[in-house]
Symmetry: C3
Subunit: 363 residues, 3 copies
């Protein structure tokens, strides 16, 4: 059952311009610009995609106010003009694809829950989840199938843990945290003493503390501290397959893209961002609001607000300057060779002038 463009416009605070459309045919779903059909709403994500509107078949396009006039030149159909198109699109998505209401499962009879565990109200423990002794779980949580929660873990309210994620014993998880499938929280840190030709394991008796509103990607691993806690600060978002080593202290509102790795005991302040596959050595400090480029390899502290990239990583400006010099190396070599010839000519001319042979230096 379609929603009329008019009512959608009211809901999204949009100005509706039907354009060449004869009447309001309504919208059934949302779609990306290239995939959208006549019953789909889409949005224009900035002016660099304007030309893609030429072949757009959507039933309606959300556009930022400042792009509306330009968009009209590329698309004759209904435009919904808003201050922020992506934001309005997300709102429309929630309207048109209402999230499934959380089921009221309670504790599945196919889950295995230790008798001493305490599970909050309106929390679902799905089939084949396994919950250890003395675990405390808050209200309105979803503990999905195959999740294993070790003894003595404490979990806040509104937490979602997706299938097959693992919490070792004693983890502390704040409210509204989301942990994706197959993530592992609390494995032993990678610490050994080398003795008589063999590595002896250093016991890890610390924990991991994840503060509220953190999201942790699928397959990500966060190791427990040796004696203290590895900490992930409030609001920090971590993508898939990221590695956080033992005793790291990750600040608040950090964002780490996929396959990033942190060795042990590194500290990040708030608002640090890392591009994919970046790596950070141990015992470093990344300053507030600094940014690491994709694949950056960081061996030194990064000052607040600084942007680093490269391997070994350095400030963007320096790295770009060096990179340009490297790209121009073939040209530099040619210039040097030309100069060698000019000097050789000068040497011959001067020798002729003074009546002497070639100077020793030219040999």
């Amino acid at each position: 059952m379609p929603v009329s463009l008019a009512s959608l416009a009211i809901q999204l605070g949009a100005e509706l311009d039907l354009g060449s459309a004869e009447d309001d045919q309504g919208i059934c779903d949302v779609a990306a610009l290239e995939q959208a059909g006549p019953t789909d709403l889409t949005y224009l994500d900035g002016d660099k995609y304007l030309s893609r509107l030429d072949s757009c078949r959507a039933g309606g396009v959300l556009v930022n106010r400042e792009l509306a006039a330009k968009a009209r030149q590329h698309f004759p159909g209904p435009l919904l003009v808003v201050p922020q198109a992506q934001e309005a699109f997300i709102l429309a998505m929630v309207t048109l694809r209402p999230p499934a209401r959380r089921p009221h499962l309670g504790v599945s009879p196919h889950a295995v829950v230790a008798p001493s565990a305490r599970i909050g109200g309106a929390t679902n423990v799905h089939p084949l989840a396994c919950i250890g002794e003395r675990v405390i779980i808050g209200e309105h949580c979803d503990i999905h199938s195959g999740v294993v929660i070790g003894d003595d873990c404490v979990i806040g309210d509104g937490v979602t843990i997706y299938p097959n994620a693992v919490l070792y014993p004693g983890m502390q998880i704040g409210s509204r945290v989301i942990i994706h499938a197959a993530a592992v929280i609390g494995a032993d840190g990678f610490g050994y003493r080398f003795h008589n030709g063999a590595y002896l394991k250093i016991p890890h008796t610390g924990t991991v503390r994840i503060e509220e509103d953190v999201e942790i990607g699928a397959g990500t691993t966060i190791d427990r501290g040796m004696v203290g806690a590895t900490v992930i600060g409030k609001g920090t978002k971590i993508d898939n397959q990221v590695m956080i080593g033992h005793n790291c202290q990750i600040g608040r509102h950090n964002a780490f893209a996929s396959q990033v790795g942190f060795a042990g005991s590194t500290v990040t302040e708030d608002y640090v961002r890392c591009g994919g596959q970046a790596g950070v050595s141990d015992h470093l400090r990344l300053g507030k609001g600094c940014t690491l480029g994709p694949k950056a390899g960081v061996h030194v502290d990064v000052p607040p607000g600084e942007k680093f990239h490269g391997m070994p990583a350095g400030p963007d400006k320096e790295q770009i300057r060096i990179h340009l010099h490297v790209q121009r190396l073939p040209e530099l070599r040619k210039e040097l060779q030309a100069l060698v010839q000019r000097v050789a000519l000068l040497e011959r001319q001067l020798a002729a002038e003074t009546g002497t042979g070639p100077s020793a230096a030219a040999a």
Copy 2:
């Protein structure tokens, strides 16, 4: 019970040359060249391994026709001469180690299958697998222990999903797909809006569509699209611990080695190959048949057929040229220093000639 070399030769279409062997002692198993013993068949994988035949103890060696004469100089025992030794070896492996017949388990009483799920004939659902509401699974599939399949997934025929792999709700899996252990299909894409100093989650209501004959490695993660589908094209092979970001459109018959990462919305055409640990930024296009070297870091579109490597990645030829220039930098600096001395000498000579002091430029 050994198979005679003669019957193996007939089966493999090989020409048997017993060499110094007095009679056909038969073969029990296959093995790599270095490990093979007197009852093992092995193969020579190209001429660069010829010298390893000197110490080979195998009961028979498969060789390519064009290497047979050379191989005889290094190995006195039975040779089986074929057009393509590796292919024949694989055939022999299947003969000598017949794959275990798939058991007829049906749906294990220890699995948890939602009442509304539909499971095809001759499909096994192993103990402790968990299958959600309205899931449709085709015929001749193996859903191994610990696999979690979310609500509304649709799975074709002949699909194998190894232990502890996870499919989020609504995934679409084509026939003959193989998904290895602990892989995660359909976690939320890494998308947030930054608002009032915090990251707000962008809901992901899209899906992942995996076409037929795809293989996905252990621990690999493929995120769902924001509204549309992340797509893996027919016949594409993905190794372990690869990350495919939300809304990527991966073409057909691609091959990605381990630990490769794709950020969101990148498109690859058919026959793209990536070496291990390569990383590709978002919203790019990799042309048909292009190749990325190991650890390549790609920030730009790659034209069809092109080979890129390096970080930032560029065409192989350019990268090699630049790399050679970099390697010769110490030498270049020496040349420059020598030239500085020659120029200084010229300046002194000219000054002496003209009776003036050193020129200002030489200061």
Copy 3:
């Protein structure tokens, strides 16, 4: 209940110097230097952290004998002087936080164990673990929840396998091995033949053999050999999210940090170490005791004892030399430009001297 410093000192073989403390107030727990409070024992990990003692609030600090005098200048409270502070600290940790006694679960009624499997004495099989046909498990093992052990695996004594790890059929695991959560042992190697425009799977019928005292990190994947075994040598320690390709032969007492990747068939000798995110191509040999830096990309054999880093990786000395030259490129270009001007001046002077115009070479 606190332990007195005096008795702790006896136990650790330490010399106790109470300093300004009026009496022995005892110790309840261990903590890192920055987090330690008045009832915690901590340790000084080398002289570079001496200044952190200024604000240390610990109830006691373990210090190496040679640092005791210096430490006293920074910390007035109780010092425990020992030959090796970290070692003593670990011993104290074991005393103050005695590891939980392994529970006597036996085989949980919620586990699924094939009738033909043989489980040794004092081994725990936790709820929702799944053990295949003909599996043999030794004594004093812990097979945690969600672990899936395929048919015909053989596992030694004292082995710990953490939740949701997967062993494909036929794996061989030595005594005292530790396998962390979500690790996958024995997935098929990434091997295909390209035929008629498609990749054909090469069957993998080999195995993985993990020798005694190996530790394998969370999310790490080790692929089975094609026909023979992928081997991990005795005492080798592997961090999280490491990839070991099919048919690798990893030596004894190796140590690989997180996110390292090995392509197939590479051999490492004993005591090889790899920094995080290093990558090693296929069919190489890493010599005894060699070291790869973080993010190294190795395409060639590495001689014994050598240190390699960079991409492509080379010997440390060479790489550092080249790196310094690259950093000085802007300076080199300036020197070249200055020299160009000096030569131009010389050319003009010589032309003036000889009464000719500028030479052709200067054009």
